[in-house]
Every structure is written in C-alpha cells, then in structure tokens.
Symmetry: C2
Subunit: 226 residues, 2 copies
Amino acid sequence: MSELTGTAGPHVFVDSLDELVVADDDLHHLRKSLRLRPGDALTASDGQGSWVACLLGTDSALTAVGERVYQPMRPTPATVAFSLVKGSKPELAIQKLTELGVDQIVVLDAERSVVRWDDAKLAANLERWGRITREASMQSHRVRLPRIEALVPAGEWLMRPDVHAAQFGGRAIAADVHSIAIGPEGGWSPAEAAANETRTVTLGSTVLRTETAAIAAATLLCAVPR
Amino acid sequence: MSELTGTAGPHVFVDSLDELVVADDDLHHLRKSLRLRPGDALTASDGQGSWVACLLGTDSALTAVGERVYQPMRPTPATVAFSLVKGSKPELAIQKLTELGVDQIVVLDAERSVVRWDDAKLAANLERWGRITREASMQSHRVRLPRIEALVPAGEWLMRPDVHAAQFGGRAIAADVHSIAIGPEGGWSPAEAAANETRTVTLGSTVLRTETAAIAAATLLCAVPR
C-alpha cells in the first residue's frame, strides 16, 4: 500500500468517484500497456480535484480502498499562452505544460505567427489536444485537466492586466506573476509589444524556441515554491 | 544595426574569430533556410566564449563590424544528468537543455533504465547529439557548446557530493544547487537512492517524464536569477 500516495503507481480518470467505472480505452491501457492485474493498486480521479486509492477488479469496476482526497485549486490559476507554431510543436508544448501542472493553456494567434488555421483544422487539433492533455494528466497524476483556449488574438490577450509577455530584458518572474505569454519565432509585433510593455518578464539569457519558452514558463510558474 | 545584440538575428560558429570563415553547411543554412544575402548582419562565435558582430559577404568569409565580446563562464557549470530513455526523448532533452543554457549534459545508465546500448549505438548517438547541440547552440545564440558525457553509471554519478537527485519530497532548489540528476521512469534503484539520499531536490508536485524533468531542471538552473 506504500505506493498509494497519489504520486506513484497508475492513475486513471473516471466520470464519477461514486461509480468508479473505468472507460474501455483506459481499461485496455491499464491492462495491456501497464500490465495491471486484478487486485493491483491504482488511483482514480474525477478530474475535478478529487481522487481515491483503488484496486483493479476483474471487470471495469474499481474498488475504493481509501478515503477521498480533495486537492484545492491554486488561488490564482497558472496560465501559459504561446503563439501558434508549426508542426508538432504545439502538441509537445501542451503535453509538457500539462505534465508540469499548468491550469490554463492558451494558444495565441500572433501577428507574426507563420501558421494560419481554418476552423476545421482548429477543431481537429482541439480534439487532439484534448486527448493529449487527458493522457498527460493521467501520466502526471493530475486531479484536474487543464483548460485549453485557442486561437486567441495575441494583441487582445496581451492587454489583460494579469498577463506578462516573455521578452528579453523583462524583469525576473516574481511570486505575483501567474500568467506568461510567449511570442512567435519572429517576436511580438510592435502593436502587440505596446499592449504589454509595462509587464514583460524574462526567461533567461538564451534565445528559446516558442515551445521551449512555453515549457520554461510553465516550470517557473509551477515548479518554483511561491 | 540594432539587431546585433548577440541575442537577435542569425548566429553561426566559426573555427576562429581571426579567420571568420563559415563552413559550407552553415553557409548553405544561412543562405537557403534563413535567406541571408550579402551585406546582411549576423553574429559569429568561436564556441569558446567569444563572439563578434559581422556582415555576410559574397563568399564564405564574414566581415567583422564590431568589437569582440567575451562572455565569462558561470563560476560553477550548470549540469543536468538524465537517465537514458527510449526513442527520441534523449534528443529532445539534449536540444532543450542546450537552448536553455546548460553547460554540461550527462546521460546516465541507471539500474532501472529500460534501454541498453552497445558501443556502436552509443557512438552513433554521440555523433547525432553533437550535431543537435551545435544547431541548438546556433539557434539559441550560445557562445559555448555544452559538454556531453554518456553513458555514466548512475550509482557513481549520484555519489558525487555536488550532484542532487530529483526526488519527490526533496528540498526546494536553492542557489547552491548547480547539478541535478533525473532518474528513469521506474525511479532510482534503492542503491542509487542511497548514494544520494541527503541531497535530493524537488521539481514540483506532478509526476514528470524523464525528459520533462530534465528540461524543468535546466530551467530552474539557468533561467532563475541566482
């Protein structure tokens, strides 16, 4: 029972902690990929902040073997926004941001983004990103799925008073920063930069690709005691 | 000339700042991928800490247009060690660690690593990693290439008094930590953990994949003012 800490062993999402029934796909994953057998220990979460230690049974029903634990939300959500980039980079960023514990992920439509998506492509990617965040949330033992918003015009997002733009020469990230926005490879446009010029933060002294900057921002928001 | 800051515009490595001759592959990259033309600005570094602002010419010779700048090394190298993992994950980690500014990258052979390489496979990967670090160093405007060591037995590495093992319940990463080691997906073996038990550090409260933990460690060593 020593592994039932909520941070070790397999972790699965269920629709309700009152029912504790594992979906077919997840059951397949637990049995085939993770090689769990009846009687093996795992944790189940409702994706709304609660989890409970369980044992796998012979069918899709789990048996709770502990008290439900509720993990409070952060007082202010950790938010990382990044500009749409090419290829599989948005997927990589979304997977890693989820693992690191970001509460809200925003994909920005920046003036200098070199990628433009129509509604069909956006819809297909949102579905795919939903799967990625769910898998990464199970893998990283999250008890809440991150929220994803896309595509938000960068100029509008940067005007929000809680949003800090990543920029060379910005200030160090202090404990009052909870929301960081990352520009495209070509940088912010003058209008976008002007919308945020008083709230820039630095991510260090090297030049980072957009997805690396997003992962670094997530680390600084989620993995530093604050 | 406003872009010649060492952190914007194209950046290339040359064998010597006295010669300023670009290798064929790099010249092709500058002309074809980055679409530079004669007279365009870039920076050139010797990979040993010095760089100079230049202009591209009509052949492989660059013309210096500024003073040489020497960037001192960190007093203590930022070091991230991670256990060998499957597939392209080591490449991803090495690329991102290079971008973030890690000085020394160590790939560990841990007792619970599920990947075992023979000498031929290691040699092929070392060559590949060398290319990846060079490209990522150009992209991120580094003036020194990171050193890569592989495969180092994890038990030996963890015994070093300057190495801190990433572990749940470890202490927060303070300014005296310069070297972090990341275990394989199955965690450290009891012998490995025992070799380092007094020096564990935490990377936050979620369960991270090995490559994500390595990137988070690099961020905490390189992007946090210390």
